[in-house]
Amino acid sequence: MTLILGRKKGMTQLFAEDGTATGCTVVEAGPCTVMQLRTQEKNGYSAVQLGFEDVRDKVASKPRRGQAAQVGTAPKRFLREDRLAGDSDLEVGAAITVEAFDCGQLVDVIGTSRGRGFSGTIRRHGFARGPKTHGSRNYRKPGSIGCSAYPSRVFKGKRSSGHFGAKRITTKNLEILRIDTGRNLLFIKGAVPGPRNGFVQVQTAKTGVQKV
């Protein structure tokens, strides 16, 4: 599995030669630095830790600064691990760029969705609303939340209003339409979770099979 960290830059569209337009998201990905290696002996699992986007020394915490100094780079703003089946052949300090991906490859994109605050059931779960008029006093209320004497409680997991968004979301099996190695850009078909300039992880699709 290949992982790269990046920032979502926004959406645009690409024209194929036959004139079909495809919506795509531009992600500025990498170059990422390998910050640490997790090994079977030492950590009980194998992984590489990647760092993306330099941060000023003043901003980084002391442990982060120390770790970065060992690697010989600036401290990074965004660190994530790429879990591997066996020990990696990568070395600490190695760079991962968009060249690790191929055009047409399927990827999963992980990001943090836009936070929508405390939202009602209509926005959060897509409940239907009541009638607007004719004496209705049930415009955006959730309605019944269960039975009465039995069970005398509300079942766990009942969908209700509450905090919505700002959650880790994975969008699976998106196609890479274009790669710009000069500017470290990935053009990914369709939408990707999160706001513009939000951090995203792009990795090889876990389940998807590429259409031939």
């Binding site: 645009t12 024209f15 531009v26």
Partner: protein, 152 residues
């Protein structure tokens, strides 16, 4: 410059490939269509009633009357199928979207022509643009033949 704007500028048609369009323009759109295996250019002429979007996502709605029935088509301006857009007449309108034309028929669908010094300037600019484009295409074609000549 915004990254996306920059990318769209690179991927889309160059500035001199597209005319300055406005609602009220009477246009001939040269559109590439497929007929079985063959491709040919079809001309759709009508009035631009809306131009929307920006960058590579820019598109226009062209309206015309075919056999007494209003027909509207949306053209993405940067689509490779839109080969050329010729403005035959510019309208003098006070609105950006002429959706009100949909509710009208006959004489009331007429739009006043954009005339006067300003209109002349716009027409001159359009001529210059076309000349530039022709020159650019000619030099590109020349470069192409030169390239292929070297290969041989």
């Amino acid at each position: 410059m915004d990254l996306i704007d920059g990318i769209e500028k690179e991927l889309g048609k160059s500035e001199n490939e597209l005319p300055t369009l406005r609602a009220g323009c009477q246009v001939d759109v040269h559109y590439l269509i497929r007929e079985g295996e063959k491709e040919r250019i079809q001309i759709f002429s009508g009035m631009v009633i809306a131009v929307r979007g920006r960058g590579i996502r820019r598109s226009m709605i062209v309206r015309r009357i075919v056999q007494g029935e209003g027909v509207e088509r949306i053209f993405p301006l940067h689509s490779p199928r839109v080969k050329d857009i010729v403005i035959t007449r510019r309208g003098d309108v006070r609105r950006a979207k002429l959706y009100y034309l949909r509710d009208r028929t006959g004489k009331s669908t007429r739009v006043k022509e954009f005339l006067g010094d300003k209109a002349r300037n716009v027409r001159e600019l359009e001529k210059v643009r076309r000349a530039d484009l022709a020159a650019a295409q000619a030099s590109a074609a020349a470069a192409d033949t030169a390239d292929s000549g070297e290969e041989d």
